[in-house]
Subunit: 111 residues, 2 copies
DNA sequence: CTATATACATAGGATAACTATGTATTTAGG
DNA sequence: CCTAAATACATAGTTATCCTATGTATATAG
């Protein structure tokens, strides 16, 4: 059994991969989407998300490409690769196991 | 809204507090209980749990007392204080919000 | 025309949990 | 009998994650 211990430290990776599974996005956009979808619970900083995306790209989970907007602004879009899709599937089951385990521990006492 | 960002990094504190809400326990025992209840998902190390218990005691969330067993072994028991009980209540609602937020993000895509 | 929002990037710092190591006692196995 | 493993505590040092701070550059609002 035994889940990845890194999961304990954070769940940002699985959320980024999930966002990209809905469609290609750029970093700044992902920060806003995360904030919106989570109802202001997650407000990732740029200093958090960009290095994370670079790491995911280094692992081959995502691929990036530049795109220019009509206003002259450049954006770096990220796309989920097949490897990333597999990674997401694994992380998802880890997440489920993890939450179930915590709930077993914290639910079942009389406060 | 916005939950405690430290929650992202781990949920050990809430689990230790929850264990103690069931009754007084000593550190080594809590490691075993956590492993048992979680179905081998959590196998906290001594290097993790002892400093954590010391920190919780420093915060006034738990109180400790030594007890000798009949075999001559000494054990340091921890008891949840009223402050700890309040802390547990807060952490519990944070945990619920946190899980709900992650699920909103990761559930709702087509893989 | 200046402040804010957008959009990228990285160096350095804080913190949580782990590894490694130490002490001491009890129990199980060869 | 004696050594290994389990019990029970403790802490120093390492690693990894996320944040803060800072930088560049363009577009938009007041």
């Amino acid at each position: 059994m035994k889940i990845n211990k890194e999961l304990l430290k954070g769940s940002t990776q699985i959320m980024l991969l999930s966002l990209l599974s809905r469609g290609d996005m750029y970093g700044y956009q992902m920060i806003q989407e995360l904030k919106l979808i989570s109802g202001n619970v997650f407000e990732l900083k740029e200093g958090t998300i960009y290095p994370l995306l670079h790491a995911l790209e280094g692992d081959g989970a995502v691929a990036s490409y530049w795109k220019d907007t009509s206003e002259g602004r450049r954006r770096k879009y990220y796309r989920l690769t097949d490897a990333g899709r597999m990674m997401l599937k694994d992380r998802r089951s880890e997440w489920t196991d993890y939450v179930a385990a915590v709930n077993k521990v914290i639910g079942g006492e009389e406060i």
